[in-house]
Amino acid sequence: MVTMEFFQKFLLNPEFAVEKFDTEILLYAMSNTTGVYLNETAYLVWQLCAQEQTGEEIIDLLEERYPLQKATIRKDVCAALTSFVECGALIDSSD
């Protein structure tokens, strides 16, 4: 279980690459070809991580952009970040 710190920035692991499908994304590790399936929300989180946004900044941005989904955005962002960190796709920049 990964403990998330939402005020930190994350680094994208350069070992991971993205394969785009119509509305979905496959994030995969080039070293062992293991893939992580991303829905649109998770992919948006991934793109914002690439822009060096912290977890809280990502939540603020998405809540502003999608006010009707405010109730679930924090949970969705947390789930996406947790899965990225657990599979090694994101590296804690404080490490």
Partner: protein, 255 residues
């Protein structure tokens, strides 16, 4: 034994020798052994275990430095609609499902390995006898009719010539029509769930065995396969209702 295992593999007299194995049979109660360049790979008195070791060596040699296409740990069958790929790790139930599909009239291609043609929407199967694990034998018993002399059996399972399940066989390299990810789950209701292409690709990657032979790991090619081929997760615990479900969903599968 070589004929039993390899009679349906394509013969190519111009192919280079990838590796050379020695099969030994010594003594009145034959002691069998398999050797590769002085290293003993199998030694014992069970023909099934020897055949199992040998076919795994042949498969390994076929993929170890093969960059002609993506090698996928998968079963495959074909019908008039084209090829159906059944990717899965050991224990996923792909051999059991494939045996059942072939018993229902589908054309057997392989229960273990396919090569996806580089730049083409076509598969090349490694056609070998069915390899049935002991745990699946009871499930398949009603489908299989054979004399003990027609199979190779051991404690862990048996190998069965596919023509004993369906005498009609056509050695083909068909175009794709469908990807079915089999999932045997005791007690689970039979279900067929369509998978988004990206998820299908992620699952296919788990069965992809020669990625390191490609500079870009061949993921783009794998993704193209899943973009162009519908993929489903098929969960089953018995064959009851399976024919109706598949026939309703894919009407040309059993035609």
């Amino acid at each position: 034994m070589i004929d039993f295992l390899c009679c349906d593999l394509p013969a190519d007299s111009d192919a280079r020798v990838q590796a050379s194995y020695d099969l030994m049979c010594t003594g009145d109660e034959p002691m069998l052994s398999l050797w590769l360049e002085g290293t003993c790979i199998y030694s014992g008195n069970c023909k099934y275990d020897l055949a199992y070791a040998l076919i795994n060596e042949i498969i390994y040699q076929c993929i170890v430095d093969n960059s002609a296409g993506q090698a996928i740990h998968a079963a495959a069958i074909s019908s008039t609609a084209g090829a159906v790929l059944l990717p899965g790790k050991s224990g996923s139930g792909k051999s059991t499902l494939t045996t059942w599909l072939v018993s229902k009239g589908c054309n057997y291609l392989t229960d273990e390995l396919v090569l996806l043609g580089e730049g083409e929407q076509r598969l090349y199967p490694f056609t070998r006898p069915f390899s049935i694990k002991s745990g699946s034998a009871a499930v398949l018993s009603s489908l299989l009719k054979y004399a003990p002399s027609e199979i190779l059996s051991g404690v862990n399972g048996f190998m069965l010539p596919h023509r004993l399940v369906n005498p009609h066989f056509s050695a083909v390299s068909p175009a794709f029509s469908l990807i079915l990810f089999p999932k045997y789950e005791a007690g689970a209701p039979t279900s067929l769930i369509p998978l988004p292409s990206a998820l299908g690709c992620a699952q296919l990657m788990e069965c992809y065995v020669n990625a390191r032979n490609f500079q870009d790991h061949g993921i783009g090619q794998l993704a193209d396969f899943t973009r162009n081929t519908p993929a489903y997760q098929l969960t089953y615990s018995s064959f009851t209702g399976l024919y109706e479900l598949l026939n309703d969903s894919f009407s040309e599968l059993f035609s």
